[in-house]
């Protein structure tokens, strides 16, 4: 009897929460899972609160497990705004005509990837990728990452004239930047490609052990992360909504909030800024 009662009480509670959460017209955003989830939830939980205050609508952040899931959610209009990488942003905007890149981090027009190596390899920082790297093991980040896969692969191909799996004895995809650093640090892979921002903030807060892993090569600059919004948000959330979101993002000046990205601030962006990324992706067959 007691069991049944408890069961019914839980059921009632669940139904209630079900009804509440189905509220209409919440502005939903997501982000590519380029780092550890805890960090993402901290960062975007704060953004959620900030946007809700600025925009006067319900705002919800939805975490996803892959870059592609972020693009699909954006395409399927299950999220209206997303913090994309260069490649995922291009993919998303190609799939959703009318969508726009509206803001990027101040550092994003000149973004970089680092090639890192476990110190046991004996490799030292170099200006040109050398043949010493051949036949070592190498990990990218996510398959859909710009700084963790696309650009490093592009420059590796340029330097060696071969696909990475021919240059290296083993090529893996760690999933995200934090994991790439951890795997190279642990020696699971000898080499890895990582987002320079993630690297630098890790070194700064001491979570990376530089006795075990170090940067050996830096890529040239390329454009990367940006906020992309769907073209149809004004119809759904009212005239001028897109502009309001853009302004809110550009005006973000809380150092604590910016620190979590980590960016010094946000500046305007346009779709054209990412043409180089698009061309690179096409040349690697990652875009149709």
């Amino acid at each position: 009897m007691l069991k049944k009662f408890i069961g019914l009480a839980t059921l009632a509670a669940a139904m209630q929460s079900y009804a509440l959460s189905a509220a209409a017209d919440t502005f939903v955003f997501t982000a590519i899972p380029d780092q550890d989830e805890t960090q993402l939830v901290e960062r975007f939980g704060a953004v959620e609160a900030y946007l809700e205050e600025q925009l006067d609508v319900d705002v919800r952040y939805v975490p996803v497990k892959s870059y592609a899931a972020a693009v699909s959610a954006f395409r399927n209009n299950q999220v209206q705004l997303a913090w994309f990488g260069g490649l995922s942003g291009v993919q998303a905007r190609r799939l959703v005509p009318g969508s726009e890149a509206i803001a990027q981090g101040a550092e994003d027009p000149e973004f970089q990837s680092y090639v890192i190596a476990n110190t046991s390899t004996g490799l030292e920082p170099m200006d040109e990728l050398s043949d010493d790297l051949r036949d070592m093991t190498f990990t990218f980040g996510s398959k859909g990452s710009t700084s963790g896969r696309l650009m490093p692969e592009f420059y590796l191909r340029e330097a060696y004239g071969e696909a990475p799996d021919e240059v290296f004895s083993r090529v893996g995809f760690s999933g995200n930047h934090t994991r790439t650093v951890r795997l190279v640090e642990a020696g699971t892979y000898q080499l890895g490609a990582v987002n320079f921002k993630v690297w630098e903030s890790g070194v700064e807060d001491g979570s990376i052990d530089t006795d075990k892993v170090q940067v050996i090569w830096e890529t040239p600059y390329y454009p990367d992360y940006q906020w992309t919004i769907r073209g149809d948000v004004n119809e759904r959330f009212g005239e001028g909504f897109k502009e309001k979101v853009t302004q809110a993002l550009l005006n973000m000046d809380d150092p604590d909030l910016l620190e979590r990205f980590p960016r010094s601030g946000f500046i305007p962006a346009s779709n054209e800024d990412y043409t180089p990324i698009e061309e690179t992706a096409e040349s690697l067959g990652l875009l149709n």
Binding site: A68, S72, N76, V79, Q91, R170, L183, T188
Partner: protein, 496 residues
Amino acid sequence: MRGWASLPLSRSRTARTSIFFVVLALVCLAFSDIAVTTANPWQDLMRFFWGIVTPDFFSSAGLATAVLRTLAFAFVGVTIGSIAGFLLALVYRFRIVRTFSAFIRAIHEIFWALIFLQFFGFHPLTGVLAIAIPYSGIFAKVYSEILDEVDPEPRNLLHSRVGALSAFAYARIPDCWEQLRTYTSYRLECGFRSSAILGFVGLPTLGFYLESAFSQGHYSEAGAVLLLFYALIATIPLWVRPRMLPFYVLAAPFFLGDGMPIVWGNVKRFFTEDIVPAPLREGATGESFWPWLSELLVDQALPGIWNTLLLTQMALVATGVLALLAFPLISRHFGNRLSRTGGHVLLVVARSTPEYILAYILLQLWGPSMLPAVVALALHNGGIIGHLIGRQSSFITLRPDAPRGITRYGYELVPRVYPSFLAFLFYRWEIIMRETAILGILGIYTLGFYVDSAIQNIQFDKAMILILVTALLNIGIDILSRRIRKRLALQTMPTC
């Protein structure tokens, strides 16, 4: 050579088949990539075990919800799957139904989830259908096998005017009810496992937290998730009671959560645009289709198939070896009560942990190669078969003066359980391959790797063709396995 030919072993079909598979696996081993690539695999393993003994159940507030979602997805998915499967079983004699069922069960739950994610997004329907669809294919096959076993005589004795439903309810169902019930409840347990691993692709079940905790090296949190999962599975007999079942089934839909709204236009777009091969889409000329297809097949499908087959064959034999080594742990002909209890716990843990989770953990600990996958597949499947064979061996009565120890094992027990052992092993062949393909998502270069890559590149046309290839490969193995079982006259009831 004459000496060989006169050996009794080489004359037995069963022995020849076994030897053939072992040799094949050794050949595969020579071609495969087996290595431990982490610098400190044992240190990581110790940290992991330390995490299990110091579980942290309160780190994440979402854990309770995840348990609820895991159960809800399983209950709803398995319920729908069993109803649909039952209806399919009634018309299973038609070839088209058999082919259809074989096809939907050849595609793994995770692949189904990845497909539905593309147009339903993170909606409960994605998780429910990902379980319900392949399960209905499995239910259709097994239910029809069970129904076919029923004695036809009572049906023959009925008046010819008796309606089909009445005849079915009286003369068919009652005598196989117990079997249908046992199998369905067993499948429910499988459903909990399936539901849990769907978290790895982003659904809000236990796998979601396990993946997060693990990838961040929070072993105590990961330990907590694993222990919760074992507790759920181990206590099934306590809380899944026939009387409570209707209550669970009715309540489950309310615990699925809400996710994000479905946009039906996306569904249409997926089927009319996304999965149409790029060269055939509107505006394209279509002449590049064959080059497109052959490039896909040569560059991705073929290496995927090759690695899938290598891994499957190695895992199959490793499973067999492990099962043969493990069954004495729980057989009443060996050890004492204490050692057998320990054996049971070991096998329960091995078989309750989904291969996918085991492989994921081992990959984190040992680094990427086929080794973690082989070990994971062997542990899980060997645990299941070892359990079944061990239980069966306990029913065997030995003569009072039977030898002890290794002689008892080799001369008295193994020869007697070997046919059913092989039957179980070949039955699981198809299942091992399904899993092998999926493990590609974790970074081993089997078919799942290429499917995942295509999805990551938002190339669903390629993903669908690769999934199709995977399904066909699976159906092929299923047919082959059935032939071999028939040739060796092996019979068995299905397992998970």
